[in-house]
Amino acid sequence: MMKSKTLQVNFWDVVVPVLVLVGLLVLWQFSVQIFELPQLILPTPLAVAKAGLKEFKTLAVALLTTGAAALAALAACGIFGLLISLLFSQSAVLRRSFFPYVIFLQTVPIVAIAPLLILWSGVNFQTIVLVATIIGLFPVISNTTNGLLVVPKVQRELFRINRASRWQELWKLRLPSAIPAWALGLRISSGLVVIGAIVGEFFVGSSGQYDGLGSLIFLWQGRQYTAGLIAAVVATTILGLAFFGLTKLISNFLLNRWTRGRL
């Protein structure tokens, strides 16, 4: 019974989407051939696959480079987001003074400041991490600060009755209560840091000194290497999915541990 049920789930969750994908690829292949579209505009999936194989090493290096930058940025968002939120939760003055500038992180168009950051900080890994962190930080700060502040009154009173110090309240009540909010913030950030890293690389791309996916896209766009470009897009998607999967795993674990199904 159990076995057939898992098979059924796998059929709808895996087999059907794969069939859809194969169908679309076949459709794409034949439309390009039938309508005789130029390779420059839309290469066939086979041509994209060939380009992907040919550039496999370049793409793999680029994917790992961008992935490393995005991962570093995600870690930075998690750590700094939590630290800033802890400060915000402890001082209304700090919160009121600095929160407007945190919103600035969210609203500033990253494409506008990425060139400035590169100018100041140079064409290097740290700059890409910085750009990606700026883009990913807001959801973590916003979610976590909120999580630290909205602890139920009855639990705060429980701590008061037991003469908890402010530090104990933060450490044993507010922080554990805010962990789910922090994890959800990170989940939102996980998509943003990948975009942030690629945007950052896009701007350093012209220099030819950097190996990330963004720089590759910039380079191949200039060479009108469309098949390679699409292969790079596929690599970006793979990276994005990997990130989403990773943070989903982590946040599910944290949510389960700290909310016990409350969320």
């Binding site: 008061r160 009755i161 037991n162 110090s165 016990r260 199904g261 409350r262």
Partner: protein, 271 residues
């Protein structure tokens, strides 16, 4: 050790509320008196139930006694002085049981009960003593070792309340305050927990103030019922039923007579 705990028993405080006033701001900014020049005395080691309509101020009074609600006028004394020379007025340990169990979701039964020992200026009991203490607390509310590792989402409403009770007892409180703790539970669970409450009182005989909506519950667990209305104690009714109380007393004619008396007092203040 024995003498220390005896000394502790001697210091079960009485609660003296004199002219207590608490005002809240209403929606239009006018202050409303929630507690209005209220007087109440709860003798050391006695159980008094506060009963009255919603909004009469019973929860506010309870919270004021606990120090969770600042008062605007009057005084509340938890007097634990012992009639001996050289007695410093030591601080009173208060246990508070909220309307909801307020367990921490991420802690299991054991560490929820252990929480009070981690807070405040911990007096650093050795781990072995602490473990024995937590074990006896959990046992005292009739939970089993099999429940130690369960998380709140794995417990029924009644079990959660038992954990909350054990936690409230952690610091050997001499004053126990209950804010409609069993209101959300069905009658059978409620009467089980009423018996548990009386058993706990018999063990340690703390001074107890018990807020409830339920007349039968108020009669069953108390020495005295204080009927509240409009921020004052409008009537005190002594409960002359023998201790220890058994559930048969609920069907006795004395119980029915007191029930009638309390209902009448409530109906009178409602007018």
């Amino acid at each position: 050790m024995a003498s220390a705990s005896e000394a502790k028993l001697n210091r079960v405080p009485s609660i003296q509320c004199s002219g207590v006033g608490v005002k809240f701001a209403s929606a239009d900014g006018q202050p409303i008196a929630i507690l209005d020049n209220l007087d109440l005395r709860v003798e050391s080691g006695k159980i008094v139930s506060l009963i009255g309509a919603s909004g009469c101020g019973k929860s506010t009074l309870l919270r004021a006694i606990a120090g969770l609600q600042p008062i605007d006028s009057g005084s509340i004394d938890l007097d634990n002085k012992v009639d001996q020379p050289s007695t410093e007025k030591s601080r009173v340990e208060i246990g508070f049981v909220f309307q909801e169990p307020a367990l921490l979701d991420w802690r299991n039964v054991w560490s929820n009960v252990a929480l009070p020992f981690e807070l405040g200026t911990s007096n650093g009991q050795p781990g072995k003593v602490l473990r024995a203490k937590i074990e006896s607390l959990i046992e005292s509310v009739a939970l089993r070792p099999a429940d130690y590792k369960k998380f709140p989402d794995q417990l029924s409403g009644g079990m959660k309340m038992r954990v909350a009770l054990a936690r409230a007892l952690a610091n050997d409180p001499t004053v126990l305050l209950f804010d409609e703790p069993f209101a959300a539970l069905d009658d059978i669970l409620r009467s089980q927990l009423n018996d548990l409450l009386l058993a706990l009182w018999k063990n340690r005989s703390p001074t107890i103030v018990f807020v409830t909506h339920n007349i039968a519950e108020a009669i069953y667990v108390s020495h005295q019922i204080a009927v509240m209305s409009k921020g004052k104690i409008s009537r005190l009714i002594d409960i002359d039923l023998p201790f220890p109380r058994a559930s048969q007393v609920r069907s006795s004619s004395d119980f029915a007579a007191i029930y009638g008396d309390v209902s009448a007092a409530l109906a009178e203040v409602a007018r």
